[in-house]
């Protein structure tokens, strides 16, 4: 009998990332991407943000907020390329691009959060 595919773990990552993205990205995007730039709300100052980012819990939160949605994208986009563009024959390339991108982004997030002044 064939060994069960490792897809289970990738799907679990996709699911976790999907939950994080659904629950938290809308409010973050709305605040920092729309409301504050448009002046509807007074955003936190640079000093305030830096202060908040000192706490390890905040950094962990931000790390999870960046990393998991990237793996959500990787999984979903990989299948969109397979089915939407019918390029299953470029399998390895698509897989590498998607998960490689997610790993890269996760690495960048870790580096940036580690180096908060």
């Amino acid at each position: 009998m064939a060994k069960r595919s490792n897809e289970s773990y990738l799907w679990a990552l996709f699911g976790a990332g999907g939950v994080v993205a659904a629950m938290l990205i809308p409010v973050h995007l709305f605040l920092f991407g729309i409301a504050i730039p448009l002046g509807w709300l007074e955003g936190p100052s640079y000093e305030r943000l830096l202060d908040l980012a000192q706490h390890w819990l905040v950094r962990l939160y931000l790390f999870v907020l960046c990393a998991l949605p990237l793996f959500h994208w990787a999984h979903r986009f990989r299948y969109t390329l397979y089915d939407g563009l019918q390029i299953k024959h470029l399998n390895e390339l698509v897989f590498g691009f998607c998960y490689g991108g997610a790993i890269l982004g996760t690495g960048v997030a870790a580096y940036l959060l580690w180096n908060v002044p």
């Binding site: 659904a22 990205i25 809308p26 973050h28 995007l29 730039p37 960046c66 959500h72």
Partner: protein
């Protein structure tokens, strides 16, 4: 067996039914999600680089291109959230006392959690 006709699936299969198009749009929300992460990483980089860099970043966010991008992303991210919460009951079967909890209730509790989480984040960030 001779003579079987094998129709080929068009590259534009996803335009042939509204259900399929809606599905592809839903899948493309992941691009908006990734876009938000990229912009957030940019924001973190600006944060790390000092107040001048952060002010520059904030100015960039006010340019028409980025505002438009964020608005479009927001619509897609909302679409992701709504479709995600509406579909969650299909994967989560909860049984209480031998009877299955209705899908609407499962979806509703997801929406409630969404509202609570959003309110908390907004409060936390804006309380200054």
């Amino acid at each position: 067996m001779s003579g079987r006709y094998h129709p080929r699936v068009s590259t534009w299969w996803w335009l042939h039914r509204w259900g399929h198009l809606r599905f592809i749009l839903r899948e493309l929300t992941s691009v908006a999600v990734a876009a938000w992460v990229v912009i957030t990483l940019w924001q973190l980089c600006a944060l790390d680089s000092g107040p001048a860099a952060y002010a520059e970043f904030q100015a960039r966010l006010r340019t028409p291109w980025l505002l438009a991008l964020n608005l479009v992303s927001f619509v897609f991210v909302l679409f992701h959230a709504v479709t995600w919460f509406n579909l969650a009951p299909a994967a989560m079967v909860v049984r209480v006392g031998g009877k299955r909890v209705p899908a609407a209730l499962i979806a509703a509790s997801n929406y409630a959690a969404w509202a609570a989480a959003s309110a908390f984040v907004a409060w936390f960030l804006l309380r200054g």
